[in-house]
Symmetry: C2
């Protein structure tokens, strides 16, 4: 037994768990999560991310390509999905059983997700009837780490009348990205498809909840990847 085998599976710290979750959310579709995006999401300085990235990749939780970004390994993905399961079950439980509204519940879950045991999460899930979706409509990973991958549709293909959450902006072009940001079209935004003109015409949408209309040409609409949201959704707060 080598002395270098210190402790194969030390429990993850709160910081590590939050980094893994952030990387999961930022590296959808096999992409890389950028240092500065992780820093922005966790509200830490970029060098703090570089330091953590070193530790996480030494621990086998992520792959790091210098100056490009990071991706989760299978092990890191398992850990991230475990946290996402906890977070979503907690938000659902606090909302349905303790009268929380959607404003306060995210911050509470953000802390509790690191402190609850697997047993408590399973008991909460049981009390809720083992739900498959959280109140945002996001799928809740199973205890064994499977998640129903929300398949994304391009805004150009989405049905008129559907409600969507913008999930990914599939371009790297800074001018286009800047334009989308100006229009309020950033990941996480909710919208409804109001109309679409024929012959590859533009799609008209309304932002939720403001109702502000936007008209998006086909070329741009093709790169706006969205998730369909159940219409039973009420508002949106937190992530």
């Amino acid at each position: 037994m080598h002395a270098t085998l210190r402790d194969a599976n030390p429990p993850l710290t709160r910081s590590v768990e939050d980094y893994l979750k952030a990387i999961y959310h930022l590296s959808n579709q096999g992409g890389f999560a950028a240092t500065s995006d992780i820093a922005a999401m966790l509200e830490v300085a970029p060098p703090s991310v570089s330091g953590m990235v070193k530790r996480l990749s030494e621990a086998g939780l992520i792959e790091h390509v210098p100056y490009r970004g990071v991706q989760l390994t299978a092990q890191g993905r398992r850990a991230a999905l475990r946290m996402i399961r906890r977070h979503r079950i907690l938000e659902l439980y606090l909302t349905q059983q303790l009268g929380y509204d959607w404003g306060g519940v995210h911050a509470e879950a953000e802390r509790l997700e690191h402190a609850v045991s697997d047993e408590l999460i399973d008991r909460m899930a049981g009390a809720l009837g083992n739900p498959q979706y959280d109140p945002h409509g996001d799928p809740i990973p199973t205890a064994t780490g499977e998640i129903e991958e929300a398949e994304l549709v391009s805004l150009a293909d989405a049905g008129v009348g559907t409600k969507l959450e913008l999930r990914q902006v599939g371009t790297q072009d800074p001018a286009r990205l800047r334009y989308f940001a100006d229009q309020g079209l950033t990941p996480g935004v909710l919208l409804t498809v109001t109309a679409r003109q024929p012959f590859n015409g533009p799609t008209t949408i309304g932002l939720v909840p403001s109702g502000d209309p936007r008209v998006v040409g086909r070329e741009l609409a093709l790169v706006l990847w969205c998730r369909e949201v159940p219409v039973t959704d009420r508002g949106y707060a937190g992530r």
Copy 2:
């Protein structure tokens, strides 16, 4: 504005909160909590306690008399009672609402007490009908930091048939302390008063749950300070 006034009220860390709770439990009745007892309760090495004691007294949370021990200041006591309120409400909620048994609930509460918000604690307390006692019979401090001081009775004065929790051994004599320990009479032990002989005679007790009998002479019984426990109590696990 002095630069030395860094941050008047930084949030307390998990370690700090656990130290304050331990000191509260160890320094009943205006006594001092000893370094080695704190270390044993928190399962850390004694020098770790010395280090934390320095920080806590610089923060105004405790008073330290070198080589004697520590006591909570008013501020430290407030913080400790806040944690005890959280812990006891959590144990009650997990037991009554989520089917926990008394074995697992203490460890869960020990972690969650640091992560929950005041709002969540108040909601849990509300869902339980704002209880005044936890299932051990211990009083739950109010949100404003008041606690019903469990008044202690000497074993020599306790009524026959009452159920007691040994809370304090009021002697410093090593020989007597060793004897009590040999008899299994250490703080936290539950017992029932079986009989008392007349003319300042000995008290006969039964340990709970083993039922083992003990006979304690008046001189010794006088220094065993106990809290009366409601007879509805079921078992005892955790602290």
